[in-house]
Symmetry: C2
């Protein structure tokens, strides 16, 4: 006889269906598919049917052929593992078209298993010593530069007043720019600039890589003096971010990149709402900052409202989990900074890559203008 605690994790699904009857059948299907993985008409023991099978808490129409179902699951079947959490919320039903995760409510009994971000907004501001404005981030690019060329660019960016200088996420460990050569060079370059400016800019190398290399690279970067790390959890698995955040031998601020997660985000009828995946889940997994494609930039997928939902999720109360920085990015131009300040406020990191590179001949001036625009909040 199974005796579970009764504490429940609640998930809001958007369901495509032509009628309330069909929506109800689809909601019941989610309850079974995500737990016992048996059709409802097979005999299932009563204690399992009552406690393990998901439960429909509510179901209502929200638009043409669109319904909202709130379904709850026992926290015990989710356990303390992010992999199993993702599986219960959206594992098998990801394969059924017209189902989307719109919101998740985490019970205390689930949240207490997670330490979350090690730094969060306050911790990262302490590292940088910047308190009164949004933070400025850039990416070292393009791929094809040598470690020496990356380091020169890192120096110039730090010298000009950029706070966070990260690898472009596409640069992992290519033969023409090996990780172990690039990292110490860029660290040294940023430290040199810091000695000259008196600021505390940090270099964040990209540690996205093979499952058996991520931690090795992260520890190497830490020993080399890197001030933070970049990871793409869509490529490594979300729990690799969690494990990296929990690793005391690393203990550096982490920035999450959304590469390869797009198919979960851009379809209006499948996937997971961006505020949930890039906001809540990156934060739960331990990112101190979460990059997402800003509205009106190079990526057209997200509206202003979607971006605001992500930003909102980075600071919403979430047990003891720290607040983190939203990082709007993707083709941001310098003249949009005042609008971004109006949208995101000062508790944000603005990631400006190409547009700053374009101003390389007058970088100090361009960054000074940016600081001024950011201070105008």
């Amino acid at each position: 006889m199974l005796r579970l605690s009764g504490e429940r994790l609640t998930v809001v699904y958007r369901i495509r269906a032509d009628s309330l009857t069909e929506a109800h059948a689809r909601a019941r299907d989610i309850c079974y598919e995500q737990t016992v993985e048996l059709p409802e008409d097979l005999p299932i023991r009563e204690d399992i049917r009552g406690q393990v099978v998901g439960r429909i808490e509510s179901l209502r129409p929200t638009g043409p052929a669109s319904f909202e179902a709130i379904i709850s699951y026992a926290v015990e079947i989710v356990g303390a593992e992010l992999t199993q959490f993702l599986n219960v919320v959206f594992g098998n039903v990801s394969l059924k078209p017209g189902l989307r995760v719109e919101a998740i409510e985490f019970p205390e009994g689930f949240l207490r298993h997670f330490r979350g971000p090690r730094f969060g907004r306050t911790g990262l501001r302490e590292v940088l010593g910047v308190w009164d404005r949004p933070l400025l981030c850039t990416a070292l690019k393009p791929m094809g530069l040598t470690p020496q060329e990356m380091a020169e660019l890192a120096y110039e960016m730090a010298r000009a007043g950029v706070d966070l200088i990260k690898d472009d996420h596409g640069i992992a460990d290519p033969p023409f720019c090996p990780f172990r050569e690039r990292v110490p060079r860029c660290v040294e370059a940023v430290e040199r600039a810091n000695r000259e400016t008196g600021r505390r800019a940090v270099y964040m190398p990209n540690v996205t890589g093979p499952a058996d290399r991520v931690f090795e690279r992260a520890e190497y970067a830490r020993r080399a003096g890197a001030g933070g790390l970049l990871l793409s959890p869509g490529l490594t698995g979300l729990d690799t971010l969690r494990a990296l955040a929990d690793e005391d031998r690393v203990a550096l601020p982490l920035m999450a990149h959304p590469a390869f997660l797009g198919s979960l985000l851009v379809g209006p009828e499948s996937g997971i709402a961006p505020g949930v995946l890039l906001g809540q889940l990156m934060r739960l997994a331990g990112a101190d900052a979460t990059i997402f494609p800003n509205y009106g930039g190079r990526f057209v997928a997200f509206s202003r409202e979607v971006c605001q939902a992500i930003a909102e999720a980075t600071a919403r109360p979430m047990g003891a989990i720290r607040t983190i920085f939203p990082v709007p990015a993707g083709g941001m131009t310098l003249d949009r900074v005042p609008e971004m300040v109006a949208t995101y406020g000062t508790e944000a990191i603005f990631l400006i890559g190409g547009a700053l590179l374009h101003q390389r001949h007058r970088l100090a001036e361009a960054v000074r203008d940016l600081h001024r625009a950011m201070g105008a909040a």
Copy 2:
């Protein structure tokens, strides 16, 4: 001055666009977005533009508002890492609606970095000692059973003649069925049945779990005598499968489950073709068998043609990489077995869960009928 080898990885993208001009602009955007991540109009050094930026090999209309672009990338920017491979093929552009990966052609210079499946079709047949028919697999369910109850079911399945007995993919390490208690019990149960039948059925526990636990669980399972392992790479990251296949301390047949990958698969306009992701990429990463939702089953997403494309990809020539088993699954009923044999031939694993559980009172007879139907190929 960058000097790359000239060897290229080729990706076929389906592009939504209203005109050839728009399709061409989108194809060029892919070339830049997936490599240098700069807009085309920014100055880029000539050696980088010529060698790092992707190259359009061809572009043609394929239907209303649909185009096919073949784009190639230098193997050096992909390197020897699956994470970086996924990133170059579909990292950032996954966030741009209306782009889908339809096919990938792997050059020898990329494939030689991968060992692939350790067993493959021949190796798995050797383990089981079954040569003349499709293999039969079942899943231990429903979630909510105790380890003792799982073991009883495993015993009955092995006794009846099921070849591969795996954990339901939703059972990881719940408090009511801990991994370390379940595995030795199920191993013992299957071994006991094998002693009685003279067959060599194997138990495959689910090792999907936290990034820092997968290998620990896999090694524990190996020491406990498990005959194979189940992993959901959509939850752990695809490269965890690769690392598991490469790990000599594990060295067990691996079955891959598609949980959480659905949003990449079900949208016709975004994601990666199922034959590529569940066929080629699971195989490249080292799965000996790849589970997918069969047409006409509980999951409606895939057509018969899509399923055949997956099956075809498991055996297509791919350098020195072994052929693997397609595993159609998801609400398979006993009466569909002849049709499945007609579709997939004998080089397949038929995964039948709920329907066999429904026959638990006459399991030996049901499995005997199945063997007969499978032998009728």
